[in-house]
């Protein structure tokens, strides 16, 4: 068992920031990360709204945060699989698939989120042979071809416009009769002659041999099913918090987001949460960094006062009422 003062679960923007603050405050800190260091930051091609940095690649920002955390002594255990959590007791611990285990007096949960998939037949089969989740990465494979973009938020509409640089026609398929995106993004998509819209509809199946050839689409108000020949489908249908394995250990809301107070505390003493996994409205690198800072400072305070409380106070000093 490796013992630490603070254990951070997740190495995205929130977790790395918490690691920087905690290790710089001389807390013996470990970050345990199930995915890739940097989390969704590395899924961002260009970051142009991180204050103090004019423009950078997502992976560069992630790499700098990782280097910073390590330089202060923070340990990072990445690409591991956590098989069990024991987080309710005063000493928190996790065990990994390879048998290693870690314990700490406080824990910050920063598991982040991931792009939501459609979970329909054929989605796994055609990933990379017609289905993509990144227009910047794969757009040029669809030069001169026809593609579908699934979704109605900012990502979907902005990526649809970007894909018109490659594809001859982009069809946006969206489940509602209106879009959730900002007005300027909607206008830009609507004014683009290469973009068509299929509203109140959802994809039901991906069909093809070695590559994607067509999709089945259901028109939701009528239940009518139709097939459409297509070369590619780009999916931008929001994000899911990575909290499945934490259900039962910590309070989640109806969207499976962790409920915290403004100091990033959960109801369990010594357990904090930060970043995209918590219940909140805006998810940006900057907000994750802010949450991670607050969580690390709260955890530091918890560990400090907990150590002070360990010595019994004289009864005369206790405050009543």
């Amino acid at each position: 068992m490796e013992k630490y003062d603070l254990m951070i679960i997740g190495a995205g923007a929130a977790g790395l920031t918490a690691g920087i603050y905690a290790s710089r405050a001389k807390l013996n800190t470990v970050i345990i990360n199930e995915g890739v260091v940097g989390g969704q930051m590395v899924l961002t091609e260009e970051v142009a709204n991180y204050p103090g940095v004019e423009t950078t690649k997502g992976y560069m920002l992630a790499n700098t945060m990782k280097t910073q955390a390590k330089s202060f002594g923070c340990k990072i255990r990445s690409n591991v699989k956590i098989t069990s959590y024991a987080l309710e007791d005063p000493v928190k611990s996790v065990t990994l698939e390879d048998g290693r285990s870690f314990s700490a007096d406080a824990v910050i949960l920063t598991p982040g989120g991931r792009p939501r998939s459609l979970n329909i037949p054929g989605e796994d089969q055609f990933k990379g042979t017609g289905i993509s989740y990144c227009a910047t990465c794969d757009g040029d494979f669809f030069t001169g071809k026809e593609v579908i973009v699934v979704g109605g938020g900012n990502s979907a509409l902005e990526e649809a416009v970007a894909l018109t640089n490659f594809a001859t026609k982009v069809t946006i398929v969206h489940q509602f009769d209106h879009f959730q995106a900002f007005e300027h993004a909607i206008k830009e998509a609507q004014n683009n002659p290469k973009i068509e819209f299929i509203m109140e509809s959802e994809l039901r199946e991906f069909i093809g041999d070695t590559t994607l050839e067509k999709v089945t689409i259901e028109h939701l108000p009528t239940g009518n099913m139709s097939e459409m020949n297509i070369d590619g489908v780009f999916i931008f249908v929001g994000y899911l918090p990575n909290t499945e394995s934490l259900a039962g250990l910590v309070a989640l809301n109806e969207r499976n987001e962790i409920i915290v107070d403004p100091d990033m505390k959960t109801p369990i003493p010594g357990m904090f949460a930060a970043g995209d996994c918590i219940a909140k409205k805006y998810r940006q690198v900057t907000t994750a960094v802010a949450d991670g800072t607050i969580a690390a400072l709260s955890a530091s305070e918890f560990l400090r006062t907990r150590n002070t409380k360990a010595a019994p106070k004289p009864a005369s000093l206790s405050v009543q009422g």
Binding site: V36, L43, E45, Y59, G128, T129, I131, D138
Partner: protein
């Protein structure tokens, strides 16, 4: 010229690739860019380098003309997602994948195809 900034050693020419796959029994090559679908694969390869000592791990820049040997490989026909990841056994393509793969997907292929 090296075009990628990854912790995995980069192959720069087709002849270098040819030499490597002929001189090593098990070789994994991730052919990509510095984008969100490719970086997680490079990072996973970096971590696997210590665990799979019988496999050689390399990257190759997708946009280099020299990478045509991978881009145009018959095993990559129909691939429309970066990176193109190649698994070579005794100089032959044992497996190829398109788009991002997680650690478990990669280790499953390594365990099955590059034993």
């Amino acid at each position: 010229m090296k075009l990628l900034q990854t912790p995995v050693q980069e192959i720069e020419t087709a002849s270098e690739l040819e030499k490597i796959i002929n001189e090593n029994e098990n070789v994994m090559v991730c052919c990509g860019r510095m984008g969100p679908m490719c970086i997680p694969v490079y990072d996973t390869m970096e971590e696997l380098q210590d665990e799979y000592e019988h496999v050689k791990f390399y990257s190759m820049a997708f946009d280099s003309p020299e990478a045509g040997v991978i881009r145009n490989a018959p095993e990559c026909r129909g691939f429309m997602g970066l990176p193109f990841t190649m698994y070579y056994k005794n100089g032959e393509v044992a497996h190829a994948t398109s788009s991002i793969q997680n650690r478990q997907q990669i280790t499953t292929i390594l365990d099955e195809k590059l034993k």
